[in-house]
Point group: C2
Chain length 297, copies 2
């Protein structure tokens, strides 16, 4: 069994896969084209099969190579995490880069003050925010710490439940003065509603609680929660909004208080990072920040 496949080969393999040519991969990796070609040849040798069909315009991946791509990407992702963790580590101090993932709304509306304060206390800290609604997999994407709206499943994580963020319906006062205040869920049909466009798994789940919150009932549709929030703030109609955020704007009025959707909120981190000073610092800061956020009713 050829156990001596250098991990380095995987890296060039992935680059060739991505660039579609030895020359391109070589450029990206800072090596030369013959070297890239030799790496691929070595890998093909080790696996006992071709990974690419050579053409004049580049290399076309075979079925086998396609099957391996995901793995290679996973390695790359982990390698990037490793490098990020290893760089800028200083005994006892919190220095270096930490990559945080959170939903768009949380990233925009909740985290910034906390992160700013954090940096004041730890000037050596570099913080990357990955704002995305897709459920990030800590092992998959390059993220050290994630704010999640679902309890973490994976055992290797250290996770802390920071409370429940309530989502409810809001509208600006002038909209309600204009269009009236709905008194029942059925009333919503006569209003300008602000909601989602494409249905995600999360929305599908949430819809069970709000049966009337259907796509075809919406006047404004947007995939971005930020856009929805902006529409609500602009008085365009009635939309869903985290209660703690709406509280900041005195003109936003809660309608149909019975309609509440609770978001169990968690902060999760790789168990490996428990011993890393800077990750612990950011983790604790996020926990404190979100506990405060979830505490607002």
């Amino acid at each position: 069994m050829a156990d001596d496949i250098s991990w380095e080969l995987y890296r060039t393999f992935l680059a060739v896969l991505r660039e579609g040519s030895l020359s391109g991969a070589a450029r990206r990796l800072g090596i030369t084209q013959p070297t890239a070609g030799r790496h691929v040849a070595l890998l093909e040798d080790a696996f006992g099969q071709p990974l690419f069909t050579r053409t004049q315009t580049g290399l076309k991946p075979t079925e086998a190579a396609t099957a391996l791509q995901g793995h290679a990407e996973a390695m790359e992702s982990v390698a990037a995490s490793l490098r990020r963790t290893g760089t800028g580590f200083r005994e006892g101090e919190a220095t270096g880069t930490v990559r945080v993932s959170a939903s768009e709304v949380i990233s925009m509306e909740v985290l910034p003050p906390a992160l700013a304060a954090l940096h004041q206390r730890h000037p050596g800290l570099r913080i990357e925010v990955d704002a995305s609604n897709a459920v990030q997999d800590l092992t998959q994407r390059e993220v050290d710490i994630a704010v999640r709206m679902a309890p973490p499943k994976q055992g290797v994580l250290v996770a802390r439940h920071v409370g429940t963020v309530a989502v409810a319906l809001f509208a600006r006062d002038d909209y309600l003065a204009r269009a009236g205040t709905p008194s029942s869920e059925d009333d919503l049909a006569r209003h300008a509603l602000i909601g989602y466009d494409r249905e995600t798994p999360f929305i599908r789940e949430a819809r069970k609680a709000w049966p009337s919150w259907r796509r075809d009932a919406f006047t404004f549709r947007a995939d971005s929660d930020l856009v929805q929030l902006a529409l609500v703030r602009a008085g365009a109609g009635i939309g869903a909004c985290q209660v703690a955020l709406a509280r900041r704007d005195p003109r936003l009025v809660r309608v149909l208080p019975a309609m509440v959707f609770p978001l169990e909120t968690w902060v999760a981190m790789h168990g490996n990072l428990r011993t890393s000073r800077r990750h612990k610092v950011v983790f604790d800061a996020l926990v404190a920040c979100l506990q405060a956020h979830a505490g607002i009713q």
Copy 2:
């Protein structure tokens, strides 16, 4: 930014961490001690900090090195998967190794016939079974295909719901003749019950359905579901058992039919492996096998 850290360095780094010495790592990797030392030195150079304190008896990892260990292990795991997938790939044929994870009970009682038949059809196939009740993370552990009792969360997976496996209470006929048949859930207190020892997250969830199924009520406690099953089959008392399994033993009698716990069962696989012939073959076989299993009422 030194982006040119060879992935190969990570491999020796992990080996040094594991072996606790350059010499040991070198032996394991089939390189020499000076080379291992140089690799570590390169890595320390790239990270700008020491990873080990050199002693005469070996290398002691610093705080930084400890923080990196988990990442390095993750890389190793992925590399192993990659190698396994790449080796023995043959266009159109199902050859090579596939690693399957399932619960102990499923691994022991349900899969073997299906795997045996599968191998008959595809003699080039090598199958590894990882029997463990811990929820395996497909990206974390070295597993290609997993049989899970929970809907998969991660988007990168291809998952198939194969049905609902019902778990109910059973006892052997002679036990019931001896001790009587319980007529209500409260009656259970007077019986010899077979249950879990340590409470896992899964059991905590399941307990909500069966409030009377408490640890202190059990006569026999075992963490292993296999042992519990064996005790039920031996007529030791009343225990939980998958209905489909109990059906095989004519002496096992279902008690308190109202107490049923449904296990939603899924077969999950990396999306990357969709194009791999051998993985698809095993995936389909597992789906068929478990659909048949879940179909038994």
